[in-house]
C-alpha cells in the first residue's frame, strides 16, 4: 500500500475528528502537538492526493462520495492545512483552552468534509456539521459570545435549511445528487443562493459576521475568519459553476458595503470582519462573472484571503492579547513597543490592499481584469468594475486607518510586550507566504484551476499605474476624512432592524405555534372529558339536551321531569351533588327512570331487530 493509498483510504474528516477527540483528553501541550499534526495531515492530503474519486459508499440508497479530490478541493485544502498549522501555533501561545481547540479541530474536520465532498448529500451533511461545530467554538468562550452564538446559530440554521430545501428540490428536478453542473435553475437555485448567501455574508444576510467574529477568543477568531466563509464561497461556485450576473453584482456591492462599514468601525475585529465581507465580495464577483479568469481569480483570491485575513486577525489578536483593548481609538504608537506585530500587520495590510509584490495584488488584479470591459470583461460588467475599484479604495482607507491609529498615531500609552514566539512564528510564516505568492506568482498560478490557458501579466505597467493611483487617492482621502471619521460615532448596520425582526418573528411564531397547539390540546381534552362525562352521567346529558330542545318538539316537559328543572340536574350515581338539599337526595326524577329504562328498552328492541334481520334476511 503506497502512502497515497493510505491517505485516500479514509475521508479526510475522519482523522481530524479523531484528533479532536484525542485533544479533548490529553494534556495541553500534547494536545497542541496533535492539533498541529491534524492540520499538517490536511495539508499533506491536499498536496499528495492526485485528482480522482475515492471512497464512494452507499448511504440510504444514495451514492455518497466521501472523498473527491480535484483542483478546487486541493487548493482549498492546501490553504486550510497550512493556515491551520500556523494558527494552531498561534493559538498555542495565545492561551486558547484545550477544549476549544478540540472544538476547532472538529470544525476543521467538517470543513474538510465539505471541500472533499463529491455529492450534495455528503456536502450538506458536513455543511450542517460545520454550522454546529463553529457555533460551539463561539460558545466555548462564554460571556457575550453566548448570545452572539445564538444569533449565529439561527442564521446558519436558517441558511442550512434553505440549502437542504434547495438540494431536495434539485434532486426532484434532476434525479441526481452529483455536484457536476450545479443546482437546477429556478426555485432550487433561488433557495441555494439564499442558503449559501448566509454563509457568504451577502448584504442583508451578513449581520452574524461582524456580530460574532469580534466576540470569541482571539485565536478562535483566527480560525473562524478562515473556514466558514471561504469554504462557502467554494460551495457557491459548485452551485453556480457558470456564474450569474446578479451574483457578480452582489459581489461588487459587498465589496463596497463591507469596506464602507469597515471604515466606520472602532472595534478592530469588527473592522476586520466587515473586510471579510468586502473581500468575499471580490470572490463572489469572480464566481458571478463565471469566465475562466473570473473563477481562477476568485479561487486565487480565496486562497490568498485565507492567508492575509488570518494574518490580520492574528496581528490584531496580539494587540488585544497584550493591551486588553479592542477599541482602535484607545490605541496608538504601538510600532515601537510591538515591532514584530507591526511587521505582521504590515504584511497582511499590504496583501489585502493589493500592493504590488504581495499576493492580494495578483488575485485581486485577476478579478478586476475579469470584470474590466476593456480587458477580459464584458460591457455589462462596467459598473461592477467600478464598484470593485471603489471597494479597493475603501479597503485601502480602512487599513490605513487601522494601521495609523494602532501603530503610528501618537505615543504608546502603555508599556506592552511584543508577540510571543508562537504568535510571531504564526504571523511571520503566513506573512512570508503572502509575500512569496506575490513574488513567485507563476508557480502559484500553476496550481489554480483553469489556469493553463490564461495569459497573465500582473506586473504590467498598466496594473502598476492603477495600483499607484489607488494608493495615492486613498492616502489623500484618508488625510481628508480622518478627522470627521473619528468624530463619527457608531453607525448602525442592518442588524439594528434585522435582529429585532428575527427575534420577534421567532417569538411570535413560537407563541402562535405553542398557542395553537395548546388550544388544540385543550379542545381535545375538553372533548374527551365531555365524552367521559356523558358516559358517566348519561341521564344528565339527556336531560340537558332535552331542556334545550324547543317546546313544540318535546311538548310540555316540566311536569315530566319531576316538576323541577333543577332536580333533573342532580347526580344519581353518587348522591353527592353539593347543590341539593338532603331531603330530596333520595327522591328520584322521573326523567332519570325514563331515560335509563326507556333507553335500555329501546336498545333491546334495536338489538333484537338487528339479530332478527341478520338471521332471517342475510
Amino acid at each position: 500500500m503506497s502512502p497515497v493509498d493510505l491517505l485516500t483510504s479514509v475521508p479526510p474528516a475522519v482523522p481530524i475528528v479523531l484528533a479532536a477527540l484525542v485533544v479533548a483528553v490529553v494534556p495541553r501541550t500534547a494536545g497542541y502537538a496533535v492539533g498541529a499534526l491534524a492540520t499538517i495531515y490536511l495539508f499533506a492530503v491536499s498536496l499528495l492526493t492526485p485528482p480522482g474519486e475515492y471512497l464512494s459508499v452507499l448511504f440510504l440508497g444514495f451514492d455518497a462520495q466521501l472523498f473527491v479530490a480535484d483542483d478546487f478541493s486541493r487548493l482549498l485544502g492546501l490553504g486550510f492545512g497550512f493556515l491551520g498549522t500556523a494558527a494552531v501555533a498561534y493559538a498555542a501561545s495565545s492561551g486558547l483552552p484545550r477544549t476549544t481547540l478540540a472544538f476547532v479541530l472538529s470544525y476543521i474536520a467538517s470543513v474538510a468534509g465539505v471541500i472533499f465532498a463529491g455529492d450534495w448529500l455528503t456536502l450538506l451533511f458536513f455543511w450542517e456539521l460545520m454550522a454546529v461545530t463553529s457555533t460551539v467554538v463561539v460558545w466555548a468562550y462564554g460571556g457575550d459570545a453566548v448570545r452572539a452564538g445564538f444569533r449565529y446559530a439561527i442564521a446558519h440554521g436558517t441558511g442550512g435549511v434553505l440549502l437542504i430545501w434547495a438540494v431536495a428540490w434539485h434532486y426532484v428536478e434532476t434525479g441526481s445528487l452529483a455536484l457536476e453542473g450545479g443546482i437546477a435553475p429556478g426555485a432550487p437555485a433561488l433557495l441555494a443562493v439564499l442558503g449559501i448567501g448566509v454563509n457568504c455574508a451577502f448584504i442583508g444576510l451578513h449581520t452574524w459576521l461582524p456580530d460574532t467574529y469580534k466576540r470569541p477568543h482571539i485565536a478562535a477568531s483566527v480560525f473562524l475568519s478562515v473556514f466558514t466563509t471561504k469554504s462557502s464561497a467554494y460551495v457557491l461556485y459548485q452551485a453556480f459553476p457558470d456564474g450569474h450576473l446578479y451574483i457578480a453584482y452582489m459581489g461588487g456591492l459587498m465589496a463596497v458595503y463591507g469596506a464602507t462599514f469597515a471604515l466606520l468601525q472602532h472595534d478592530m475585529r469588527a473592522l476586520l470582519s466587515y473586510h471579510i465581507q468586502a473581500q468575499l465580495g471580490y470572490i463572489v464577483a469572480g464566481i458571478g462573472i463565471g469566465s475562466a479568469i473570473g473563477i481562477t481569480g476568485a479561487m486565487a483570491h480565496l486562497f490568498n484571503n485565507i492567508l492575509f485575513k488570518a494574518l490580520l486577525f492574528m496581528a490584531v489578536g496580539v494587540i488585544i492579547y497584550r493591551t486588553g483593548e479592542e477599541d482602535l481609538y484607545e490605541l496608538g504608537g504601538l510600532w515601537r513597543e510591538m515591532p514584530l506585530t507591526a511587521l505582521g500587520y504590515l504584511f497582511g495590510a499590504l496583501s489585502i490592499t493589493a500592493i504590488p509584490g504581495f499576493n492580494g495584488f495578483i488575485s485581486k488584479g485577476m478579478i478586476l481584469d475579469a470584470a474590466d470591459p476593456h480587458y477580459y470583461g464584458a460591457p455589462e460588467y462596467e459598473a461592477l468594475y467600478w464598484l470593485l475599484m471603489a471597494g479597493a479604495v475603501g479597503t485601502l482607507l480602512s487599513f490605513v486607518k487601522l494601521g495609523y491609529y494602532a501603530f503610528l498615531h501618537g505615543p504608546a500609552t502603555t508599556d506592552v510586550r511584543d508577540a510571543k514566539p508562537g504568535q510571531t512564528a504564526g504571523m511571520l510564516s503566513v506573512g512570508l507566504v503572502c509575500l512569496g505568492v506575490g513574488v513567485f506568482w507563476p508557480a502559484f498560478v500553476d496550481i489554480l484551476p483553469f489556469s493553463s490557458g490564461l495569459d497573465l501579466h500582473p506586473y504590467s505597467p498598466g496594473h502598476l499605474t492603477d495600483s499607484a493611483l489607488l494608493v495615492a487617492v486613498s492616502l489623500i482621502g484618508f488625510a481628508i476624512i480622518r478627522k470627521p471619521l473619528s468624530a463619527l460615532g457608531h453607525v448602525p448596520d442592518v442588524d439594528r432592524i434585522l435582529n429585532p425582526l428575527v427575534f420577534y418573528t421567532g417569538r411570535v411564531s413560537m407563541l402562535a405555534i405553542t398557542g395553537t397547539f395548546a388550544a388544540v390540546d385543550r379542545g381535545g381534552v375538553a372533548f374527551v372529558r365531555a365524552c367521559y362525562w356523558v358516559g358517566n352521567n348519561p341521564v344528565l346529558a339527556v336531560g340537558r339536551v332535552t331542556r334545550r330542545l324547543p317546546a313544540w318538539l318535546v311538548g310540555e316537559h316540566s311536569p315530566a321531569d319531576g316538576g323541577s328543572r333543577a332536580s333533573s340536574d342532580r347526580r344519581f350515581d353518587g348522591g353527592e351533588s353539593p347543590r341539593e338539599p338532603t331531603q330530596t337526595a333520595s327522591e328520584p326524577s322521573r326523567l332519570y327512570l325514563r331515560t335509563t329504562i326507556g333507553g335500555t328498552i329501546m336498545l333491546i328492541v334495536l338489538a333484537l331487530t338487528v339479530v332478527l334481520f341478520v338471521l332471517v334476511f342475510l
Binding site: D573, G574, G575, P588, T600, I601, I604, L612, L615, V616
Partner: protein, 504 residues
C-alpha cells in the same frame, strides 16, 4: 335415592325459605341459622350428586311426579350442570360467612336468599325450556328483592330498573320458547334437539326468530353490552352482603342456561348451518369485552368498576360460545366458574374493606395495604387472577379461550381475547397502584367520599369486620389460585360432555 336429589335440591331451599319468616315471628335472628343449615345441606347434596355423575358418567334424571318425558317435566343433572350446582351451593354457603356480621340483617333477607338459591339450582337442573322460564323469573324476582334490601332510594331505583329490564328479558325468552313450541310441539330440551331439525328445519323462520328472542333475552340477563344498563346499578346499589351472591351467581347461571340452550336445544348443527348465527354470538361477545373494559377503566367507584368488569368478562365467555371448538368451549365453562369465584371474592373483599374503612372509591383505596393487609392482598391476588396471571383459574379460562380463538382461525377475535387481558389489567392496576404505591391521606379531614351514600348505609365502625368476612375472602383468593392447577381436571370432567355436544 340419587334420582330424587335434583328435585330435593330445588325444593328444599324454596320450602325452607318460608321458615325465617315463620320462625322469625318467635325468634328474632333465626334467619342466618336456617340459611346456613340449608345451604350446607344443599352443598353436601350437590357434592354427592356431582360425585355420582362424574364416577358413573351417567346423567341423573328426575321426572317430576313420575310423568314421562313428552308430558312431564324433567330435571337433568349431567356433567354440565353438576359443576354449576356445586358452585351455586358452595358460594351461597360461603357468602353467609360474610353476611353473619356484614349484613344485611333481617329474616326477610334470608328468605329471599334461599329463594334465590332455589331459583338458581332450578335453572341449573331443569330439562324443560318452559320450566326454565319459571326459574328465571324466580331468580329475577328474588334478585330484585335482594337489591332493594339496600337502605337508600337508589337501591329501590336500581331494583326497579332491573325489575323492568330483567322482566323484558325473561319475557323475550318466553316469546322465544313460544315460537319453539309452535314450531315443534314440545318443551323438553332433549326432544327439542331432535324435533327442531325434523319437524321444522333449522332455516325455519320460527326457529330463527326463537333463537333471536332467546339470545337477546339472555343477553339482557347476562348483561352483555349494550343491554347491560341494569347491571352496574344493581351491583353497586345492592347491599354489600348481597352483591357477591348476585355478581357471582345470577349472571353466571344465566350464561350457563344460554350455553345449555344453544348447545343442547339448538345444537351445534344449527350454528353451523345458519349463516351469521355464530358470527352474531362472537360479535356481541367481542363488543362486550371491549366496551365493558373501557367503561370499567372510567369508573371511580370500585363496586361499579367491578360491575363493568363483569360485562367484559361475560363478553369473553359468550364470545367463546360462538367459536364452536372444544378448547374454546372448555375455556368458556372454566372461565364461567372461575369468574364466579373471582368476582364473588372481589365483591366480598370490597364489602369487607367498605365495612372496615369506609373506602368505596378507587381514590380512597390509597394506602389500603397498610390498613387492611389481608384484604388488600386478597384483592390483589383475585384481581391478578382476573387479569389472567398464572397460576390462577382466570389464566386457565382465558388461555383456553385464546387458544380456541386461534384454533378457530378468527384472528380479530384472538386479538380481542388477548387485548381483554391487557384491558383488565387497565382497571386492576389502578387498584393495585392505589393500594400499594399511594400513601394514605393524612388523618385530619375526613376522606372525601366517606360521607357518600352508596345505598347500603354501611358506616365504618369498629368491630364491623369479622373473622368470617376476612376468612371467606382469603379462601376465595386461595381457591382462585389453587384452581389454577386444575386444568387437567376440568378437561377430564367437562371434556367428554363437550365432545358429545360438538360431535353428536
Amino acid at each position: 335415592m340419587i334420582e330424587n336429589v335434583p328435585a330435593l335440591l330445588i325444593v328444599l331451599p324454596i320450602l325452607v325459605a318460608t321458615l325465617p319468616l315463620l320462625v322469625g315471628l318467635r325468634y328474632e335472628r333465626v334467619g342466618w341459622t336456617v340459611a346456613a343449615l340449608t345451604t350446607t345441606a344443599a352443598f353436601a347434596m350437590a357434592l354427592w350428586l356431582a360425585l355420582v355423575i362424574f364416577t358413573t358418567g351417567e346423567a341423573v334424571i328426575h321426572q317430576l311426579g313420575g310423568f314421562p318425558r313428552p308430558i312431564g317435566i324433567e330435571l337433568v343433572a349431567d356433567r354440565l350442570s353438576a359443576p354449576f350446582v356445586v358452585l351455586a351451593t358452595g358460594i351461597s354457603m360461603g357468602v353467609l360467612a360474610y353476611t353473619r356480621r356484614g349484613g344485611p340483617r333481617g329474616n326477610s333477607f334470608y328468605s329471599a336468599y334461599l329463594l334465590l338459591l332455589g331459583g338458581l339450582l332450578g335453572l341449573s337442573l331443569t330439562g324443560d325450556v318452559f320450566n326454565m322460564f319459571v326459574f328465571l323469573e324466580i331468580t329475577g324476582l328474588t334478585t330484585y328483592a335482594l337489591i332493594a334490601k339496600g337502605k337508600s332510594g337508589e337501591s329501590a331505583i336500581a331494583a326497579l330498573k332491573y325489575l323492568i329490564i330483567g322482566t323484558v328479558g325473561a319475557s323475550m325468552y318466553l316469546i322465544g320458547v313460544g315460537f319453539l313450541f309452535v314450531a315443534t310441539g314440545t318443551l323438553n330440551m332433549i326432544d327439542l334437539a331432535t324435533a327442531i331439525p325434523q319437524q321444522a328445519g333449522y332455516g325455519n323462520p320460527l326457529i330463527l326468530t326463537a333463537f333471536a328472542f332467546v339470545f337477546v333475552g339472555f343477553a339482557i340477563k347476562i348483561a352483555l353490552f349494550p343491554l347491560h344498563t341494569w347491571q352496574p346499578d344493581a351491583y353497586q346499589r345492592a347491599p354489600d352482603g348481597a352483591t357477591p351472591l348476585i355478581a357471582a351467581l345470577v349472571s353466571t347461571v344465566s350464561a350457563y342456561a344460554l350455553f345449555r340452550l344453544v348447545y343442547t336445544v339448538f345444537t351445534v348443527e344449527f350454528l353451523v348451518s345458519i349463516p351469521h348465527a355464530s358470527e352474531i354470538v362472537v360479535t356481541v361477545g367481542s363488543i362486550s369485552v371491549l366496551a365493558g373494559s373501557a367503561l370499567a377503566v372510567m369508573q371511580r367507584r370500585v363496586k361499579r368498576m367491578l360491575a363493568y368488569s363483569s360485562v367484559s368478562q361475560f363478553g369473553l365467555v359468550v364470545l367463546a360460545y360462538g367459536l364452536m371448538n372444544d378448547t374454546a368451549l372448555l375455556g368458556a365453562l372454566v372461565h364461567l366458574i372461575g369468574h364466579a369465584i373471582m368476582k364473588g371474592g372481589l365483591f366480598l373483599a370490597v364489602g369487607t374493606i367498605a365495612a372496615g374503612t369506609g373506602a368505596r372509591t378507587v381514590k380512597e383505596y390509597a394506602g389500603l395495604a397498610k390498613r387492611m393487609p389481608f384484604m388488600a392482598g386478597s384483592l390483589a391476588v383475585l384481581g391478578l387472577a382476573l387479569v389472567g396471571v398464572p397460576p390462577s383459574i382466570g389464566f386457565l379460562g382465558k388461555w383456553f379461550i385464546a387458544v380456541g380463538a386461534i384454533e378457530a382461525g378468527i384472528w380479530p377475535v384472538a386479538v380481542v381475547v388477548l387485548l381483554s387481558t391487557m384491558l383488565t389489567l387497565g382497571y386492576i392496576a389502578r387498584l393495585l397502584e392505589r393500594m400499594y404505591f399511594t400513601p394514605a391521606p393524612t388523618r385530619g379531614g375526613a376522606p372525601e367520599g366517606s360521607l357518600a351514600t352508596d345505598g347500603s348505609g354501611n358506616d365504618p365502625t369498629p368491630g364491623a369486620v369479622s373473622a368470617g368476612m376476612l376468612g371467606v375472602t382469603v379462601l376465595a383468593a386461595l381457591l382462585a389460585v389453587a384452581l389454577g392447577f386444575s386444568g387437567g381436571a376440568f378437561d377430564s370432567l367437562l371434556g367428554p360432555f363437550i365432545e358429545v355436544i360438538l360431535n353428536g
